[in-house]
């Protein structure tokens, strides 16, 4: 089996290779899924994304900070079923403010330079998700968990 370090490296590789993630939020027991551009820190403790404050997901996050995020390597081919790797992350979201916001925006725009105008807009929030657990799915149905000891 893979060691914790091997699994962590697998997560890093996937996060580096993927630009988009699906974020799940909820309000009143109704789940809601959205596509976001994300970036992670190398220590795997945080995931960041940017959202306009007018969005449903932002409003959901204000009322319930618990989120699930899904990142995967599928390419919309049949072979995805045996080749794709998928990670579900659970954690707690909050909005970060300056000066930290500026540091994170640098990290974010290094990965998504085309989103500069969007990300720097005063109407957008930079969301930080403190990861609690990673659920790594490989070989269709093999699932390993990595929990962060906080």
């Amino acid at each position: 089996m893979e060691t914790s370090v091997e699994i962590q490296n697998r997560l890093r590789n996937l996060f580096e290779s993927q630009k988009l993630a699906v974020v799940a939020t909820q309000t009143g027991g109704q789940p809601y899924a959205s596509l976001v551009a994300f970036v992670t820190t190398d220590d795997l403790r945080h995931i960041f994304f940017v959202t306009a404050r007018t969005t449903r997901k932002f409003s959901n996050l204000i009322s319930d900070s618990r989120v699930a995020i899904l990142v995967n390597s599928s390419v919309n081919l049949e072979s995805d079923f045996h080749e794709a790797v998928c990670i579900t992350i659970t954690g707690i979201a909050d909005e970060i403010m300056d000066p930290e916001r500026q540091d994170i925006l640098k990290l974010y725009l290094a990965k998504h330079p085309y989103l500069e105008e969007f990300a720097k807009s005063p109407s957008c929030a930079v969301i930080r998700v403190a990861a609690r657990s990673y659920y790594l799915v490989q070989n269709f149905q093999n699932v390993m968990e990595l929990h962060i000891d906080r």
Partner: protein, 732 residues
């Protein structure tokens, strides 16, 4: 798109489409060699079929359940069986099949044919797949030919082919298969010819048998062998075979029968014919510009080339080529019948005699020196039987596999392991043992005073009849916690047995067998009704052989266990003496000899230690869902009981999930208490899977690290339909 082409239309550039065999035959025909009429189903047809039916990804999913390097051969066989069944059950799409049917009908008009594999990666200079993919002889009728095309396609994924491709590093994703359909040439004598000998480049080799050469190719019929001088084109030597059988065309397929008496005295080829065959091989070598391995047959006076391929390795077995070993794992029906005779009439009785003879010997009467010698002797006897176990009993297990294949070919069942239900509920030694145990438990259940005394650990004054029954049990099957693989450390007190009996007594007994014999009869009828006449007779024989093979899969371990326990008895005696000497501090020299002998026996496999967390890096790793193989259908949930040592079995509680490295036949007594079974060792036909099926328990095998990733008491769900084990509850 043309899915099938006639040999005369095949050009050199078609190689990747028609495979080595197809191309060689087309080129031979063009070069004026006599070859049978040939059609070739291209590799594109295969690709189109697996794409349209979704089989391509189903195969990849099957092969990617776990890392190939972690799969045991038996698991690879299971994988291959499931894949083969997919091919049998997915019809060729109409658009393709109608074109194939038309071409086949036009070319052969109902004549009998041979359907051969011709994988594009086969027979090139770097890799020889000779013998790894299937060929079918004596097939008649368009529908039957189509069915056999699918079987040849499936053989691209046979266990031997998978192993070999892995070994030589070919990418399975790029594998494809063309199929050659040839008019059959029913020769009087056939064989192979090597234009250049693998052992001596100045020589060539011819092997020949009477009848069809299937018998020669699969090793069932021993061939006459000639060594020839390449330069002079003369015979250097002839080694006659012990000519007993020949392979002839049967109603459909082939049949091995006794060779007529007068033919047993005559070699299949005379000198002229042998030289003629060799000249043909040399001509083919010249034509292809490389040494050739030729299959040929004589029909009356006509010499016909059946196929020709380059000799891929002139130094056999180089680079540790294990193909022959992979192939040896498959035994033909004829070969298995002979093996059965040997096992049932020679080996098993000899094994029982060996164990009895050892049991008769009074160890306490031996001097220390004699005891040391006796331990060595028993070690050798045990070793001998262990070797026989691997060389004869393990290959005999292929009887079950062969039956499975024939059953699946005949019935095309949805569950490729349905055939096992026809083999279960045979009289297995471990089931007899478990029944005795159930009877003892029922005694305890019906007598509360007895249960109370056992719970309190009071064995004094127990019902003598009960104690006698316990003694009889221990005498026959040994101490339960003293399983063969961990026997050197076993306990001697019956305490563990009482614990198990109390646990069994506290719960309703589990009945063996999840299906009625009526179901079994229906399955048997379903299987046999596919055959008629001679073939039905063979099917009945095969079923009988499979049952014997299935039963032996269990019993051989018990018999081997008896011999090993005799070795252990001698070791125990030695240990006791060593301890005694240690106390008396005398006679040290001989004691040292005994110590040496006992130490030398320290060969037993160690259990894996429980999984250790990696150093504290802030992350805690935990398995959630592990994929293995579905080995017994059903869904069960319960606390895990991880068996690290045989002594752990004594703590087994009703309703727990048995998690172990491998279910040893000697430890299956806890299975009736279990709600499900999870094994690290993989395979559908391994002992744990067989016993779980007997008791109708969900079972998943082949979970790497099962005993280290799962901890005692973890809530575990066993999905025996999908082969998945889930650990923990659904909460995040």
């Amino acid at each position: 798109m043309s899915w099938i082409i006639s040999a005369e239309h095949i050009r050199q550039a078609d190689g990747p489409r028609v495979g080595g065999k197809g191309l060689a035959l087309a080129l031979l025909a063009r070069g004026g060699f006599a070859v049978p009429k040939t059609l070739c189903v291209t590799s594109e047809t295969y690709q189109e079929y697996v794409s349209r039916t979704g089989l391509r990804e189903r195969i990849m999913l099957e092969l990617n359940r776990k890392a190939f390097k972690d799969m045991r051969w038996e698991e690879i066989w299971d994988c291959a069986t499931r894949i083969r069944n997919m091919f049998l059950r997915k019809p060729i799409p109409e658009e393709i099949s109608s074109q194939l049917k038309e071409a086949i009908h036009t070319a052969f008009k109902g004549k009998v044919v041979v359907v051969r594999s011709s994988a594009p990666e086969e027979d090139d200079a770097a890799s020889s797949f000779a013998g790894l993919h299937e060929s079918y002889v004596n097939i008649q009728g368009t529908d039957a030919i189509l069915e056999h095309i699918a079987k040849v396609w499936a053989s691209l994924w046979s266990d031997a082919a998978l192993l070999y491709r892995q070994e030589i590093g070919l990418d399975v994703k790029k594998s494809a298969m063309a199929v050659v359909i040839q008019e059959i040439v029913v020769g009087d004598k056939s064989g192979v010819a090597f234009s250049k000998s693998p052992n001596d480049t100045s020589q060539g080799v011819i092997e020949s048998v009477y009848g069809l050469n299937q018998g020669l190719v699969d090793g069932t019929v021993e061939p006459d062998r000639w060594i020839l001088d390449r330069r002079k084109k003369t015979i250097i030597s002839h080694t006659p075979a012990e000519r007993k059988h020949w392979m002839i065309a049967a109603e459909s397929g082939v049949q091995l029968v006794a060779l007529p008496e007068k033919m047993t005295h005559l070699p299949p080829l005379n000198t002229n014919e042998a030289c003629h065959v060799f000249e043909l091989a040399l001509e083919a070598e010249k034509y292809f510009n490389s040494p050739q391995d030729l299959e040929w047959t004589y029909r009356k006076r006509d010499l016909v080339v059946l196929q020709s391929r380059p000799i891929t390795t002139l130094s056999p077995q180089k680079n540790g080529d294990k193909r022959s070993w992979y192939l040896s794992l498959h035994r033909s029906f004829e070969n298995l019948k002979l093996l059965r005779q040997k096992i049932e009439h020679e080996l098993i009785p000899a094994m029982i005699t060996a164990a009895d003879e050892l049991a008769c010997q009074e160890l306490t009467e031996l001097s220390d020196q004699e005891l040391a010698g006796e331990i060595n002797r028993r070690w050798k006897i045990n070793q001998k039987w262990t070797n026989i176990y691997w060389e004869e009993f393990i290959p005999y297990a292929h009887g079950v596999r062969l039956f499975g294949q024939i059953y699946n070919d005949a019935v095309h069942p949805e569950d490729p392991y349905e055939f096992i239900d026809l083999l279960t509920r045979t009289e297995m030694a471990s089931l007899e043992r478990n029944q005795m145990l159930a009877d003892l438990a029922s005694e305890v259940r019906n007598h509360p005073a007895l249960a109370k005394a056992l719970s309190a650990g009071q064995t004094e004054g127990l019902d003598p009849q009960f104690l006698e029954a316990v003694d009889r049990f221990v005498e026959k099957f040994g101490d339960l916690t003293c399983a063969v693989t961990g026997g050197t450390q076993c306990e001697q007190a019956p305490g563990s047995l009482y614990k198990i009996l109390l646990e069994m007594a506290a719960h309703t007994p589990s009945e063996t067998g999840r299906q009625t014999s009526k179901n079994k009869d229906a399955l048997q009828e379903k299987f046999l009704s596919v055959f008629e006449g001679e073939k039905k007779k063979t099917a009945v024989e095969l079923l009988d052989l499979a049952r014997s093979s299935y039963q032996l899969r269990d019993d051989d371990n018990i018999y081997l266990g008896r011999i090993e326990s005799q070795l252990l008895a001698a070791v125990r005696e030695a240990r006791q003496r060593i301890d005694a000497y240690h106390h008396r501090k005398s006679n040290k020299k001989i004691a040292a000899e005994l110590i040496q002998v006992v130490e030398n026996l320290d060969h037993r496999p160690q259990f894996q230690p429980p999984h250790k967390q990696t150093p504290d890096d802030g992350f805690v790793i935990q398995a959630r869902q592990l994929i293995g193989q579905p080995a017994g259908p059903g869904l069960a949930k319960g606390p895990a009981r991880v068996i690290q040592h045989t002594a752990d079995l004594a703590d087994f509680k009703y309703g727990e999930i048995l998690i172990c490295d491998a279910v040893d036949p000697n430890m299956t007594f806890v299975v009736p208490l279990a709600a499900g079974v999870v094994e690290r060792r993989g395979g559908m036909l391994i002992h744990g899977a067989i016993i779980a099926r007997e008791y109708g328990l969900p079972c998943v095998t082949g979970i790497p690290d099962a005993t280290t990733l799962i901890r005692n008491g973890d809530e575990v769900t066993v999905d025996g339909y999908l082969g998945i084990v889930t650990i923990g509850s659904s909460e995040l």
